[in-house]
């Protein structure tokens, strides 16, 4: 059975969720003096940059540390598919910092597992938290949970969750797509 692609969050809803996530982060991290934000390449960085921007405005702290983290070299599916790296851009060390890892969709958890490894090349953090926009329940392959969640959804593994951003697709929205051909929908 095939379903048409459906939008589960539009731009307005997405904006409200991001606003809420920012305030949740501030509850824990206060002014972010000891915290850093890492966006996971390739798709998590759009959410992470937006959160970083809004946090700077709300906290009036223009110095919040931000980096893009690519996990390609740390993945566990090397040789199962062709993996092309993206850019890592972190010009600080995370030693003794509180790290907020940010990705768009949490599905099997394998990307985050790789991210935890990749991050360690930049020091030993005091604490690591995970923030995701979409948490796909009941689909985890590894015991990883997010502390901050935009929206939790139930979906079957043949479906794919896609997050569009103004910067790349021209509009902010979250889709559920059905992909019958490819059962292996690791993002």
């Amino acid at each position: 059975m095939s379903l048409a692609p459906r939008i589960i969050l539009d731009g307005k809803q997405l904006g409200i969720i991001i606003q809420r996530l920012c305030h949740q982060l501030i509850e824990t991290h206060d002014h972010f003096e000891h915290s850093v934000i890492l966006g996971l390449q390739p798709r998590g960085v759009f959410l992470a940059r937006r959160i970083h921007h809004q946090l700077s405005e709300i906290t009036k702290n223009k110095e919040i540390a931000y980096g893009d983290l690519d996990v390609t070299f740390y993945r566990d599916d090397f040789r199962r598919k062709d993996l092309v790296p993206n850019k890592t851009n972190i010009n600080f060390i995370i030693e003794d910092k509180k790290v907020v890892l940010i990705d768009d969709v949490l599905f099997t958890g394998r990307t985050i597992r790789a991210g935890l490894d990749a991050m360690m090349a930049f020091g030993r953090p005091a604490d690591v938290e995970l923030l995701v926009l979409i948490d796909r329940r009941y689909s985890r392959n590894v015991p990883i949970q997010a502390k901050y969640v935009g929206q939790t959804i139930d979906s079957v593994s043949s479906e794919k969750v896609k997050v569009d951003w103004k910067e790349t697709e021209g509009e902010d929205r979250v889709w559920i797509l059905t992909n019958e051909k490819n059962e292996d929908n690791h993002k």
């Binding site: 070299f73 740390y74 062709d82 092309v84 790296p85 850019k87 090349a121 930049f122 020091g123």
Partner: protein, 309 residues
């Protein structure tokens, strides 16, 4: 482009421009990795690589070994001296014995042109040519072009002169293929006796006057005189070669522009290039060495991770 068009890296001649660009984009990431406090990534943790050096090498062997270790591969080393090759074992037998120990990739240097190609037809492992006689040395050409791209922003449209012993140089041939594929203009310069006849078929300029070549180019790649490959005398004396084709500060300053100086090593200081030129701010010789590790990591990573379908 997410994968290489080839299963082995035998030469630059049989890879595409897209392959080269994919290798460079991947090498950019590895260059950043090797400049971090922790220089190692776990990508090749379940891959075993044999470095088979049937011919002497310092830089290439070290560079490959470092690249392999930075990718967390298991590495075994073999060099012809002190092995059964001296007892008369054939190349195929030597390699098959090593492969029976479950090796995934082979990095090989051999004195015979085509040795890597021959091997790729007879064994299952992925082969990387680290120099086969006077034929090709693909990773050297890739790191040279990568270094030019880094220094000048791009390779396309740039004028590169390859100067010295072209006849015995695998670096020259691989460099010509690589630079042409990337859209550069290439000139070879050297004595007539060290200029192979087939140059006409490669669409490169041929020059015998070093001063003219230097005035023409943006980058001069100075090659070493390969005395170990010369069975007969190709020029009267090293001193005469140096007078005609040696690059010194005076000659470099006389051309009236700042060109980039490269050398694949090992340098014969005072023969093809003087120390003050090799160590000057126009020289990118040590950048070439650093980039060599990043480029070889990229090649190893892309070949090892390449899916079969």
């Amino acid at each position: 482009m997410t994968r290489l068009s080839t299963k082995h890296l035998l030469g630059i001649r049989n890879i595409t421009q897209d392959d080269i660009e994919l290798i460079f984009a991947t090498a950019d990431n590895f260059k950043q990795v090797i400049n971090r406090p922790i220089k190692k990534v776990p990508s090749l943790r379940d891959i075993t690589i044999a470095n088979l050096f049937f011919e002497n090498s310092t830089r290439t062997k070290l560079s490959f070994e470092l690249a392999e270790k930075r990718l967390s591969a298991d590495v075994i080393n073999f060099s012809a001296s002190g092995s059964s090759v001296k007892k008369g074992e054939t190349l195929i037998d030597t390699v098959n014995n090593i492969l029976a120990m479950k090796v995934d990739m082979v990095v090989m240097r051999h004195a015979n042109p085509g040795a890597a190609l021959f091997l790729s037809k007879h064994v299952q492992a992925k082969i990387i040519n680290a120099g086969d006689g006077a034929h090709e040395h693909p990773t050297q050409a890739l790191l040279d072009a990568f270094s030019i791209r880094e220094k000048l922003g791009e390779v396309r449209g740039k004028k590169i002169a390859i100067i010295g012993d072209i006849l015995h140089s695998r670096v020259a041939l691989s460099n010509i293929h690589c630079l042409k594929k990337l859209g550069a203009e290439v000139m070879v310069c050297g004595p007539r006796t060290l200029m192979p006849k087939y140059m006409g078929g490669l669409d490169v300029k041929v020059e015998h006057d070093l001063n003219k070549a230097l005035k023409w180019c943006d980058v001069a790649n100075m090659l070493r005189i390969q005395l170990e490959r010369q069975e007969i005398k190709y020029f009267p004396s090293l001193r005469e070669y140096t007078m005609q084709y040696g690059l010194d500060k005076k000659r470099l300053d006389s051309i009236g522009k700042k060109i980039v100086i490269m050398h694949p090593g090992p340098i014969n200081r005072g023969v093809e290039i003087t120390s003050d030129v090799a160590d000057s701010d126009q020289s990118i010789i040590l950048d070439q060495v650093e980039n060599g590790v990043a480029v070889r990591m990229a090649v190893l990573y892309l070949l090892a991770g390449r899916t079969e379908n």
